[in-house]
């Protein structure tokens, strides 16, 4: 199969993720959208690795997975404490800081 198709798919996934971050209200969903963007990047990395015939992109994909796991730990901890404090995980209600 033409590897370019995977790149188009990764661009579509990245765009869906970016729109999800901008449009969704729930912090968990926003966070999942960020993960979608990271995984779209991973798909692009491995597709490019296939096109170029070297392993750098695949190595990067592993690093991204590790970093994404670390980000989950930090992110969920922050979202959890906010949810316990406010009984809500909406990013719209976190609006004390302005002007």
């Amino acid at each position: 199969m033409n590897p370019m198709n995977y790149l188009y798919l990764s661009a579509v996934l990245f765009t869906i993720g970016a729109l999800g971050v901008l449009l969704r209200r729930n912090a968990i969903v926003v966070f999942m959208s960020v993960e979608l963007m990271l995984n779209a990047s991973n798909l692009a990395f491995v597709s490019f690795a296939d096109i170029h015939g070297n392993l750098d992109g695949q190595v990067m994909a592993f690093f991204v997975m590790v970093v994404a796991a670390a980000e989950v730990v930090v992110g969920l901890a922050i979202i959890m404490i906010i949810f316990r404090t406010r009984r809500s995980a909406s990013v719209d209600e976190a609006n004390l800081l302005k002007y």
Partner: protein, 520 residues
């Protein structure tokens, strides 16, 4: 069979790691790991002392290692890390700034309840559990390993010579800061909200950086910055992939720098975070992020500078204007300093778009000068308090100079340094980047920068007038708390360095001239 084993054994060569050149990074990250073990195995009452010894010992040892590495120009760790003059200067700056910031973070006598962090960040704000922890005098000493991990990431970020290392360093410096931002003892809702905003927007921008890195890799077939530069030389940048990749990577880095239009998180996070952490991240993150931006722009994408330079010129101008205009309207001192740091990022970008050696040197000087004054200013914000915590509303600062002339005087000095008044470090930095900008042909931007500096001087001087020439409100409960020797020492060092760099700029200018340029 044996032949196959033999040939496959030959294929694997063990990598060479230049430990001496990498020592600063390894020492700091090693101490951070030790710090985690201390949290796991050492009883509560001993932890703070051990963590302080570990932190300051690691920072000092790493600084010695940086001094010993002076003059080294190598690409270490199989091409992943570039140790050259600018890297060494930035690592030295980050370590000095981190040490001053650590002194402020270690302060325990300003807040009557303990240090500036929640006794347990996991306890709900206002809960009985939290009050019990406060009564027991518990401290969240995990701050120190997190701080060291962030410093380790910052040391690696400007040295990263391939996209993998750069991304990992970016995350290693960011993740601990997300947590630290949410750990304030007072105004915990604001602090948690700052952590959430910083995290969501930070992760969003990392994703942009990552997709940009993927496109650059797809364009060049190499993760190494020099490989991308070679690919650019080969086809003169006539490819949509590299333009899109450059744009996305730049967005990710400009977010960390806090340049407009990617600055929206800055005021919220700076205001909500514990003030000692705000000073640390405002100063050190900016040094590290500018280091990475300079390296990727100059080393990897130098062949594309006619494409990215106009974009960065527009962003620099916009950043100055946005930072200055919004700072004029602020009533909260931390928010005002945040917008001022956005404006400063615009001035520093002038050094980046100069695309010459003078621009690189000017950027290095400006970053150091700005970092010292920033940490000093935020350290003073921690001292001005009323009964509920820090008094951050500007009206509460009225007449401060009449009651506490020394503290108000030091704050006035830092504000004058931000404004770039001669005989302060800010003037040295501004002069260096603006001169470089004119040499580099960005005269219009420099003119805009000078005008923005003049406007910015207005709101800095307004605070000075407020402190020295206005009377405090009749019912004012604002008082300057006498800190322990930690903060006193930090502010003294910051004042001394601000004056020294302003009066004897040659000391720093000689250092950056020796630093030379980036290794390829």
């Amino acid at each position: 069979m044996n032949a196959i084993l033999a040939t496959s054994a030959v294929d694997i060569t063990s990598p060479t790691i230049e430990y001496a050149a990498l020592a600063p990074i390894l020492i700091v990250l090693g101490a951070a790991v030790l710090g985690v073990l201390v949290e796991a195995f050492v009883p509560q009452y001993l932890r703070r002392t051990i963590q302080l010894v570990l932190t300051f010992g690691a920072l000092a040892a790493a600084f010695v290692a940086v001094l010993r590495a002076r003059g080294t120009v190598i690409v270490a760790a199989e091409g992943s890390v570039a140790i050259d003059g600018p890297t060494i200067f930035m690592q030295g700056s980050i370590l000095v700034l981190a040490a001053i910031a650590a002194l402020v973070i270690a302060e325990r006598h300003v807040d009557p309840a303990g240090d500036s962090f929640a006794p347990r960040a996991s306890a709900l704000p206002g809960s009985e559990q939290e009050q019990a922890y406060t009564r027991l005098g518990w401290l969240q000493t995990e701050v120190w390993p997190l701080f060291l991990f962030a410093v380790g990431g910052m040391l690696l970020f400007p040295a990263a010579n391939d996209l993998i290392t750069m991304f990992v360093a970016l995350e290693v410096l960011s993740l601990p800061l997300y947590i630290l931002a949410g750990m304030a003892r007072r105004r915990r809702l604001l602090s948690q909200e700052a952590a959430l905003k910083y995290f969501v927007l930070g992760a969003f921008s990392s994703a942009f950086f990552l997709y940009g890195a993927a496109l650059l890799y797809g364009y060049s077939g190499s993760m190494k910055l020099s490989g991308i530069a070679d690919a650019l030389t080969a086809d003169a940048g006539q490819n949509g992939l590299v333009i899109a990749g450059t744009a996305l990577v730049t967005v990710g880095l400009l977010f960390k720098i806090g340049a407009a239009p990617f600055h929206q998180w800055t005021p919220d996070v700076y205001q909500g975070s514990p003030t000692s952490i705000t000073g640390f991240m405002a100063a050190c993150t900016k040094v590290a992020a500018f280091g990475a931006l300079l390296r990727i722009m100059y080393v990897a994408l130098g062949g594309l500078r006619f494409d990215w330079r106009p974009m960065l010129i527009v962003i620099a101008g916009l950043t100055m204007i946005v930072g200055t205009i919004f700072a004029l309207t602020q009533t909260d001192i931390k928010r005002m300093l945040a917008y001022s740091s956005i404006a400063q990022a615009g001035f520093i970008l002038v050094g980046v778009v100069a695309t010459n050696e003078a621009g690189l040197q000017g950027t290095l000087v400006y970053l150091l000068a700005y970092g010292i004054a920033t940490i000093g200013a935020f350290a003073i914000v921690t001292l001005v308090r009323d009964t509920t915590g820090e008094a951050t509303h500007l009206s509460q600062w009225a007449g401060l100079g009449k009651r506490s002339p020394v503290v108000a005087g030091a704050f006035a000095l830092f504000l004058l340094a931000f404004a770039g008044i001669p005989l302060t470090s800010g003037f040295t930095g501004k002069f260096a980047v603006f001169t470089a900008g004119i040499q580099g042909g960005a005269t219009g931007l420099v003119v805009l920068g000078v005008v923005a500096s003049a406007v910015a001087a207005f709101f800095y001087v307004r605070v000075i007038v407020l402190m020295f020439f206005n009377d405090p409100a009749v019912d004012s409960r604002t008082a300057v708390v006498v800190p322990s020797s930690f903060t006193t020492f930090a502010i003294t060092v910051a004042v001394a360095l601000t004056v020294v760099i302003g009066v004897l700029p040659q000391l720093v200018l000689t250092l950056v001239e020796q630093a030379g340029i980036f290794v390829r």
